[in-house]
């Protein structure tokens, strides 16, 4: 069972690295949006600081949203998804492997590049650290919840709008608490509460989202 998880994860990572330009897409989107904001709005340190948490978090969220489609699309189109569903291993484990790969390929690069963007936006160091923590806890949740939405819409042609409608309302609490944690850190206040909330949501999503995704995939396959 763990072997199946590991092999599927490795397969997805290998596929992504053979197709690098697609790998860079969410990252480039993230960096572009964040760097464009100071150009469009006043680039004074105070203004940048004030909007930094929101801008960085919104860009990260949209970058993940745009990359969700690739989570199951290819497997659905070439029939591999059927083979995953016919595996003697629990579908939940395989779903978890796919979501893990998705996070490694989108969420993790965002977390890594975020401190640099924090510097662009003149974030103080303490707030920069909190930004990393909040993204580290929040982006896996985005992938996990996104997987439910994708599994419901993968069979729909141009299901992008539908996907956003399903997923965005569930993303909003993460966005609020994530951005708020960074905001509060800038004022030198404790951020434990916000980070604990994000951690709790992560545990909840980790335990329930793969189940929901597996069920949704079976429904999609029975088209």
């Amino acid at each position: 069972m763990l072997k199946a998880y590991y092999y599927l994860l490795m397969r997805d990572l290998r596929l992504a690295f053979r197709n690098r330009h697609e790998l860079a897409n969410p990252l480039i989107f993230f960096v572009l949006v964040v760097t464009l904001f100071p150009l469009a709005v006043t680039p004074t340190t105070e203004a940048l600081r004030a909007m930094a948490p929101g801008v960085i978090w919104v860009s990260a969220l949209l970058a993940v949203l745009l990359s969700l489609d690739r989570l199951f699309k290819e497997d659905f189109d070439d029939g591999s998804l059927d083979q995953l569903m016919l595996s003697p291993n629990p579908l939940v484990i395989l779903v978890l492997a796919k979501v893990t790969a998705h996070w490694f390929l989108t969420g993790l690069p965002l977390v890594i590049i975020a401190p640099l963007l924090g510097m662009f936006m003149a974030l103080p160091d303490e707030a920069g650290a909190v930004l990393i923590y909040s993204l580290l806890l929040g982006t896996p949740v985005l992938s996990l919840i996104g997987a439910i939405g994708v599994s419901l819409t993968v069979a729909v042609n141009r299901g992008g709008v539908l996907l956003s409608l399903i997923v965005l309302p569930l993303y909003i609490p993460i966005l609020i608490f994530g951005a708020n944690a960074v905001d509060v850190a800038m004022d030198g206040l404790p951020v434990r509460g916000q980070l604990l909330f994000l951690a709790a949501v992560l545990v909840l999503a980790l335990s329930l989202a793969p189940l929901a995704t597996a069920v949704a995939l079976r429904i999609t396959a029975s088209r």
Binding site: M1, K3, A4, Y7, L8, R11, R14, L15, R18, N19, E74, D77, D78, G79, S80, D82, Q83, L84, M85, L86, S87, P88, N89, P90, L94, A221, S222, R223
Partner: protein
């Protein structure tokens, strides 16, 4: 082994078949026949649990396939219309990836032997995108060969295969049957199987008819 009890399938408000029952024992080969759109693919997808029937059930060793999924899937292999082949993975990696989802550890020699058998002996390191559609189908044949399943569910396995490919598929089915395995398949190409073979014929049913002309 496999038992189908009064299945009914509706697609887009059209009744494809109803009250369809048959069973499949060990070392049996069963062909699903019928014109385009008669529900052959739907039936095969129901057989392997990918699709839910409107009514009826499918039993494996006397138990519903939905309640003992793990057992059933460990002893069944399905290939459908879609190639399941990743363009960016090599032939060898593609076979491995398919086997890995089934948690099968197959030795390198066995994999090579299977690839040689399906005529892909020197193609191990060729990426999927460089293969013809017939060669992609052959990867699936190697997968079926290596999957070690007792029941093969093959949906149009001869698609895109050349004359040698068809002969290969026929000999694989015969070998599998000789080893006690069973096969359910559909095809529009002639398959000359030198063995006892049963067939289920799906026919078009009038829209209002409750009972179809399903024969067994």
């Amino acid at each position: 082994m496999l038992e189908i009890q009064s299945l009914e399938c509706v697609r887009d408000d059209r009744l494809l078949f109803s009250e369809l029952s048959f069973s499949l024992g060990e070392a049996e080969v069963l062909q699903i026949e019928g014109p385009n759109g008669s529900g052959k693919t739907s039936l095969l997808r129901i057989l392997c649990g990918l699709r839910l029937p409107e009514a009826g059930r499918v039993l494996w060793q006397g138990e519903s396939i939905r309640s003992n999924r793990e057992d059933f899937y460990a002893s069944m292999v399905y290939i459908g219309h879609l190639p399941c082949i990743k363009a960016d993975l090599t032939v060898l990696e593609n076979v491995r990836a398919l086997l890995d989802t089934r948690s099968l550890t197959v030795t390198g020699e066995a994999t090579e032997a299977a690839l040689a058998k399906v005529g892909l002996a020197s193609y191990e390191d060729v990426p999927g995108k460089a293969l013809s559609s017939g060669q992609r189908r052959r990867i699936l044949l190697a997968f079926v060969e290596l999957a070690g399943a007792r029941l093969w569910v093959l949906d149009e396995p001869l698609t895109a295969l050349d004359v040698q490919g068809v002969a290969l598929m026929e000999s694989m089915i015969l070998e599998h049957r000789a080893a006690g395995g069973s096969v359910v398949f559909t095809t529009h190409h002639g398959m000359q199987l030198d063995c006892e073979m049963r067939s289920v014929r799906l026919g078009r049913i009038a829209r209002s008819a409750g009972q179809g002309e399903n024969q067994c």
